[in-house]
Symmetry: C2
């Protein structure tokens, strides 16, 4: 299965080719964002730009202000040619140059923008919940890269091998602490609490997770959980800026009830961000 | 500074463009080898193929036998057009396809081969030794990726920022144990011993390091060393398949004598592999 892009722009030029000397190819030296477009607008744009900006700072790609402006302008170039609902993926690399690993002093970043159809997601995932596996693959702590959506994603590629047809895999760190899903963040419902793993040491800080923390007035708390604590939850949900929220129906065969709070968040995301 | 390639082949076709949908760009989903060519031959080819093969197995890129054959054939295509001394860089990615992180069932790898001039290295590095810094950047343990030369190299890119004009930076893990140089492996001389860090948990297993272990009859031992143990060594050397061996003359200002064993290895590499 390979989705075709409607439009691919590299530095605002229509092409699907990237220079082999680009540091994105050589070292994964860059970041990306995958954004849901509804009727030509990106409801979570502010949060994508915030995370992009954090990536720019952590990787020292250049001035966050300038690069945020270039990011928006590149996305606008692509969306001028394709309005409506879509998925926009933006890859920003450090560009080419430098002596081996050492980056050049002056960076000229490459901006790759691709416009795809929104993925076809079964309504049953939202309504009935999804099947999930606990991955054996363990994430390492690397605070220098934690939180941002960089291009070094071999952890996710290798862990995804464990899905075996299930909709999501949950990743733990080497100490056995829950971190995230392969492509989602995790909300855990326990009594009155909504818990989510901290992402200070590893993992990707999802934009919908941050939106809910900033805007939803839900009192989401960061907490350390191991697998047995997870399995004793009253309910579990997965959140992602493209699909919204999915209740977890099953983890490696054990059934979970959909939690009332999951339905509350679903309604909130429907009202505020237009998720189905 | 950007070196120009004499030849760039992607899947045996002369082009410097890689498809933006390639998983090498999206996720760093692949491996690479950088090989020294002397008079049209690659003295360490066997060791590069061994490490490539380990990378193929760890990333499950396909059949190691088939991919080793394709690797050799791609390199031969490039070397047909450029004989003499050179540096050949081969990037092998999983190719394009798959649903997000999940790789496709059938992989069709991309082979990128680039031929460069050998880097100009000051003879003073070999004779007088190099200046080295101890990097603050810490490597994380990830046994699933340790040893191989994969394309997720943000650790090295970020740590290289600390070089400040010095020739090499030494990397430690989060427990403070010495792992490797940014682009080299480390030999530490203590009394009669030649010690080198283990690379089971992180780091890249250099081909010259493996050659010396396999062929040089030097009794190199893997050992755990922290920074203070390193600084008490009788001598230190850096090894790399492109430059050979460099004595360390200085670490963050502290001087080191060149060790007799370093000179012995230099002569051995000269006789057996043609290093200057």
């Amino acid at each position: 299965v390979r989705r075709q892009a409607h439009i691919t722009l590299v530095n605002d030029i229509e092409t699907s080719a990237l220079d082999i000397a680009d540091r994105g190819v050589a070292y994964g030296d860059g970041v990306f964002e995958t954004m849901r477009v509804v009727a030509g607008k990106i409801p979570l744009l502010k949060w994508h730009l915030d995370r992009f900006s954090e990536g720019v700072s952590k990787l020292e790609l250049g001035s966050p202000q300038t690069l945020k402006r270039d990011f928006k302008s590149s996305v606008n170039q692509a969306l001028k040619r394709f309005s409506g609902d879509a998925l926009v993926k933006v890859i920003v690399t450090r560009g080419s140059g430098g002596v081996g690993y050492l980056p050049p002093k002056q960076t000229r970043c490459s901006f790759v923008v691709q416009v795809f159809d929104l993925p076809d997601v079964s309504p049953s995932y939202v309504e009935g919940g999804v099947s999930v596996t606990l991955c054996d693959y363990r994430l390492a702590h690397q605070p220098r890269l934690a939180g941002i959506k960089h291009l070094n994603r071999l952890d996710q590629v290798l862990a995804a091998r464990e899905l075996n047809g299930q909709q999501e895999g949950l990743l733990f760190d080497q100490q056995g602490v829950l971190v995230e899903g392969l492509k989602s963040n995790v909300l855990v419902f326990k009594a009155d609490q909504i818990l989510t793993p901290s992402l200070e040491l590893c993992g990707v800080r999802g934009t919908l997770r941050q939106y809910l923390i900033d805007k939803a007035n839900l009192d989401i708390e960061e907490a350390k959980m191991d697998a047995s604590e997870l399995m004793e939850a009253d309910g579990i949900a997965l959140i992602n800026s493209v699909f919204g929220i999915w209740p977890v129906a099953k983890i490696d065969g054990q059934a979970f009830e959909s939690h009332q709070k999951c339905e509350t968040i679903r309604q909130l995301l429907n009202a505020q961000l237009g998720f189905k």
